[in-house]
Homo-oligomer: 309 residues x 2
């Protein structure tokens, strides 16, 4: 067991999970709590761009935590998205911007959630309130996370608080959000080196509601057709995931970050849930176009969860 408190984001970590882990570790350090930052999966290309830009090493990878390990969670709370072994670990704190589900503790804890576009925006406000300096590195990590989660402030998850944080962080870092952000987002759209199995797992989140278990996986792109041209091999990989994980549904979301639309592919014995959730039929290729839809958290997961409920 690690004597230090472990701080971590969700499985299949995205830029917010990695950046907010580092930002949160620095915050709690100022309160006198020493932590070790860890990650639960590979660094994606977008996050790699950020870490390279800042010349920061990626946090250490871990698979599971031992019994009694003290942990702090950022950017998630649902058990399926969390570290293996969590049930017997001790969650000291959670900083998150998602719905709360399948999260139970025996003892009271610190829990800070706000319905913002990004965990780093919540952390930004905590730094401000506590009067802790945001240096260029911490500021760039926050800025990167917010740009990533809000798709350069264009996602419907984006709030006034996210926008205000970005304005201030541009000043602190000297970076132009539009320029730096587009470079960062584009770095994340390069899927050419990934196998189809890797593509559908790059940013996959598992949900459960009632008896149903499903995955929503999302990739960003500047060209939907380019990703969709790999449909056959992607569907093959999706079917394998469905069988391996006994899923009722696998939704693969291809999001156009330039035009802010998404095309989804839905497979599984409950794929009609998607048709009910969005009020339109899947075409012959198990896909449908969702105009203006870019947010899994706000636009894709809730209607599916509602239909199941």
């Amino acid at each position: 067991m690690d004597n230090k408190v472990l701080i971590m984001g969700h499985k299949n970590p995205d830029t917010d999970s990695i950046c907010s882990s580092i930002v949160a570790a620095n915050l709690v350090k100022s309160f006198g709590v020493e932590t070790k930052i860890v990650r639960l999966g590979n660094i994606n290309k977008e996050t790699e761009y950020v870490l390279d830009f800042l010349k920061i090493d990626a946090p250490e990878f871990i698979q599971e935590v031992k019994d009694g390990q003290e942990i702090i969670l950022v950017d998630h709370n649902e058990k399926m998205q969390s570290v293996d072994g969590r049930d017997n670990a001790k969650v000291l704190a959670v900083i998150d911007h998602h719905r709360i589900a399948d999260f139970n503790t025996i003892e009271p804890l610190y829990y800070l959630a706000k319905p913002y576009g990004c965990t780093s925006t919540i952390l930004y406000e905590e730094y401000k309130k506590a009067g802790i300096e945001i240096d260029k590195t911490i500021g760039t990590l926050m800025l990167s996370a917010i740009i990533s989660d809000t798709l350069l402030l264009k996602s419907p998850t984006c709030t006034k608080s996210d926008i205000e944080a970005v304005k201030d962080l541009e000043k602190i870092t000297g970076l132009e959000a539009n320029k730096y952000g587009l470079d960062m987002l584009k770095a994340g759209t390069d899927l050419s080196t990934y196998s189809s199995s890797e593509v559908i797992n790059l940013d996959a989140k598992e949900f459960s509601e009632g008896e149903k278990k499903f995955v929503i996986s999302q990739v960003n792109t500047a060209d939907i057709d380019d990703v969709f041209s790999r449909r056959e091999e992607l569907e093959f990989a999706m079917e394998k995931e469905i069988a391996d994980k006994k899923l009722n549904l696998f939704v693969f979301v291809i999001t156009d970050i330039i035009n802010t639309n998404s095309k989804i592919i839905a497979l599984g014995n409950e794929k009609e849930l998607v048709e009910k959730a969005f009020g339109k039929e899947l075409d012959d290729l198990d896909s449908m176009m969702l105009e203006g839809v870019v947010s899994r958290k706000k636009q894709i997961a809730p209607p599916i969860l509602e239909v199941i409920k």
Copy 2:
């Protein structure tokens, strides 16, 4: 449906639930959110003392909320302790100091929890951070809640933050915590006008873990023997609750606020859980003395939950 956001504590409201509802309503008002304060049960004598002292009316009683009602919860999150109809309401925010359990939402929300002795201490810090004035009334509500939940700072749930808040609130209100607090606590120990069924429901909280459902009910007293002299009628009322609510266990806790000890009475088909939890046997009167134990949240519920788990 009420157009205003409803703000409320838990069922069987205690002083923290009532006072923190009022304190939280005043806080969110300063952020521009109009709320209506409601309560889910009778005002107990301790809380009555506070409201009489401040010449404040008790919040309106409600039984349930309608579909789609927007609500803010203070001092609890577990479903069994919450308003009826919550599953179809929309929880906008939670401010709490308990473990998180059986709490699920579809959408992201504000959630602020800290492992403090009292919800009002969390609110006190929010007022300070936001630079919002704490006037004498709000200050007295906060002070009363903290004194109630921490038994005049003597409970093991009491933290440095609670103590610091009380120090500052004494200055703000001009009250002496020890004097005002003991008067308030003593007002709450008068059980003479209550039937035994009322006594065991004054501050009863329902828990579920796995398949097990149990209630821990607590009363404060300056004389344990005085309350225990009603054992036979209290046990009769407890057996009725067990049958009506299909409970596995009912734990009635009589807490001596002067000497900070508790005597418990345990009934139900799983009363051995209590013996396992505390490592000692119930005597012939289904009771045991727990020296130094005063906190349901910290000293009574967790060992029982652990044994079930």
